[in-house]
Amino acid sequence: MDASVDRIADPWGGRTPYGPGTAWPVRTDTYLEDGVAPQDVDQWVQTSSLLHSNGDAMDVAVRDGRIVGVRGRGADRVNRGRLGPKDLFGWQAVASPARLTRPLVRDGDRLVECDWPTAMDRVVTRSKELLRQRGPSSIGFYTSGQLFLEEYYTLTVIARAGIGTNHLDGNTRLCTATAGEALKETFGCDGQPGSYTDVDHADTIALFGHNMAETQPVLWARVLDRLAGTAPPRLVCVDPRPTPVARRAQVHLAPRGGTNVALLNALLHEIIRTDRVDHAYVRAHTVGFEELADRVADCTPEWAARICDVPARAISEAADVIGTAERLLSTVLQGVYQSHQATAAAVQVNNLHLLRGMLGRPGCGLLQMNGQPTAQNTRECGANGDLPGFRNWENDAHVAELARVWNVAPEAIPHYAPPTPAMQMFRFAEAGSLRMLWISGTNPAVSLPELARVRAILAQERLFTVVQDLFLTETARLADVVLPAATWAEKTGTFTNADRTVHLSEKAVDPPGLARADLDILLDYARRMDFRDRDGQPLVHWHDPPSAFEAWKLCSAGRPCDYTGLSYERLRGGSGIQWPCTDQAPEGTERLYTDGITWAGADVSETYGRDLVTGASVSEVEYRALNPDGKAVLKAAEYLPPHEETSEEFPLQLNTGRTLYHFHTRTKTGRVPQLDAAAPDVWAELSPAEAEARGLAEGDLVEVTTRRGSVRGRLRVTAIRDGMVFLPFHYGYWDAPGGDRPAVGGAGRAANETTVTDWDPVSKQPLFKISAARITLVEHGDGTPAPAPTTTASAPVAPADVPATVGGALAHASQVVPDAEAGDGSRS
């Protein structure tokens, strides 16, 4: 196969079918800008995707000092040469003329350009002033899921041991906090058990709130290739929207929002009732079976059907498929993580695997997914509310070990309370006890819930806000100091995807103007603040990405995320490598828990656990009594109704989420012509029955309103479940008249104008999927359809009335399958 494909119209590209237990064939995807041929490329520079969590390895094409395209890396274990639409086209944003090129400082109502010393001096002066007057707890750092490992680690050392604050978190709190927490609750420690290669072996794949086709299109291409090959796997899909995954599923359950725990408890009930339990595995590797069995004893499919509004027999059928699987792969994402009882639900998926003994073998995988490309590193490096290397803040030995690595006194590292999660940090800023917030690589003025409140917090005079970013985002416009950062392909570093694969990302081109790598900005700050260790030597003693990586390796040694066997040299060329990678496992580690549970003992675990309903801490003594032999914990949870219920005034459940063509708040993807054109503006989705009941039709201008605010957009009628309205969350104001907020008298465009401030008490992840809303007509359309893609979960119920989403000539990418690979294992 050697073809040119419109990758906007066909996001997943052509099929390379394969059968169970065989290797996923290579297919090399390439996109070069118009007029550039492969022989025109001066240099191919190795990197990996920074616009989702899959870690698609690629080479960047450079010509005359500019990026001119990308090509997938066929040798890489993650994507075997394939790239998704955001990978193929997203690089164009790097050269956007809107990039920040100079630091900015606030002068009254304006931000004015300045040089680096002026900007950094303001930051350092305010830091020192606050440390003197109000102490370290008046300073907070809110970072990203898109910096590099070396940068997070440096930031963590600065925040925890330099400043000495407990207030450091990432926007990973919004995307992956529940994944980490669910793994900690079950296995004692973070660390993805499964591997993407489990797709190659599975006979059943269950996707819980995970629209894989849009969030990780290349991983979905892997599933599609299995579906097209011999002995294809069966799919179970839990999603209220008609996603591409749902359309291919043997069983599709579309529950009411906020009812995941009820549904999962019913699945567990059925597995136990039909005795599809691997009792030997449960005995050998778990504690808590009796309590779990007792908790779900009354959770029949009929009981759950009433709560979830799905047919009881569909629940039984799903349980049957999962219960008869011999190689079960489950994946979980935002439909669980950003919904009511997030951690409690995600943990029940872990429980399904433990009951069935489906862990640590090919095809028996559990993937608690990440949303962002480098979220895994935020977690590992301790920039997201845990100590580095998955160390336990409540374990004095862990803190002492970390203090030795950093050569500081243990008391210098705050460990009197759990590290502060982002939402609580904003609350401290609102109440006035946090006076400086350094925001790097994230845009809370669009991405956090209840935006009117977030803007009011950020705009406070008493709060000194530093924003480090590529563009003048909505958040940057509210800042006191704006620092222009270099991005992907303009700096070197490493990052790790959702299945623990570490990739090297090398510098290909220079950043624009005075923009600097995030690492260099942080190193400059550390130097100016003159942070010292206990011997009076510089606390941050590294000076570039390789030396930062070496420092991190020492910190990771002996922990689950052990990087000691890795180096830039080993990561250069060839494939990414999965941690742990050590002298004993020099090729990395494909699956965790192949030989029992290894990190749940009280002396090594990252946590002693929390109450899945209240979030209350379990004490060390209780944990030791509960789990003396360090096994996996089968944690049960009762279903609770969501906090914001629908009412006569707000009869619909509001669900927010993403679309395939955009990433986050569109700061990059909105500046890419092919991606922007595929989904240019906000829309709202409603089912045919709900639309008809309100006299609404495709293309009508509607307003979605909650107790917090409203959003205006065109209506798309889809096969979404009744009783629910969906809004994509990507759209903000940088390309709208308001600039950073709705224009005066204008309507909201950002979905988060409407969302409720509520978070999971266990993982502290905000809930974006369960506000109560109403939808009203603003004006009937003129026949123009909503600006929503037709290729995705937003597909219209009446396709004849809506032109299909296509990319045209500028969206054609080549895909090449070596002859030896084509047709292998195919049914056709």
């Binding site: 609350r427 401290f428 109440a431």
Partner: protein, 163 residues
């Protein structure tokens, strides 16, 4: 009324008070989002405990029903909510929150001790019906205690040093 009856009455009184305290504190601290939402969930447990206590007491010929709650508390609720929103951007309500958490902890601990007494009495008299109620409810009371304790641990450093 025997001693078990006295303990049932005392505990039922305690659970009703705890439910009311959780709800009132949730309204008072509307801008402390985690506290407010979880306090609402935990109030529900105390309400369920009350229902179970009424039933188990009725089987023993004891009437624990209270007159239905008067309207004034609902009026007060609105005042509390508006007051919370008005002072949400000042640090001092943090102290008030710590005080409320302390009182909730003590009230839940008091209930826990009453459950303990009832459990002992139920075992001594082989009263399986009562024992069943205790073993369902008491763990939830202990979770209320642990949650208030966790919240105090988490919030104290910032509240007490950030004024």
């Amino acid at each position: 009324m025997n001693g078990v009856g006295l303990a049932l009455r005392a505990l039922d009184h305690g659970e009703r008070r705890l439910e009311h305290r959780f709800l009132a504190a949730a309204q008072r601290h509307r801008t402390e989002h985690e506290f407010c939402h979880v306090a609402g969930d935990l109030a529900r447990w105390s309400r369920e405990h009350h229902t179970r206590l009424v039933a188990v007491a009725a089987q023993r010929g004891l009437n624990l029903r209270w007159p239905s709650s008067n309207r004034s508390s609902d009026l007060l609720a609105g005042v509390r909510t508006r007051a919370a929103e008005a002072v949400g951007r000042r640090p001092e309500p943090g102290l008030l929150l710590l005080r409320d958490l302390r009182e909730l902890y003590l009230a839940a601990s008091r209930n826990s001790l009453h459950w303990e007494m009832l459990a002992q009495a139920a075992q001594a008299t082989r009263d399986t019906g009562l024992l069943d109620v205790v073993s369902r409810c008491h763990p939830q009371t202990l979770r209320q205690v642990r949650w208030t304790n966790t919240m105090i641990k988490t919030l104290s450093p910032q509240v007490l040093t950030g004024l």
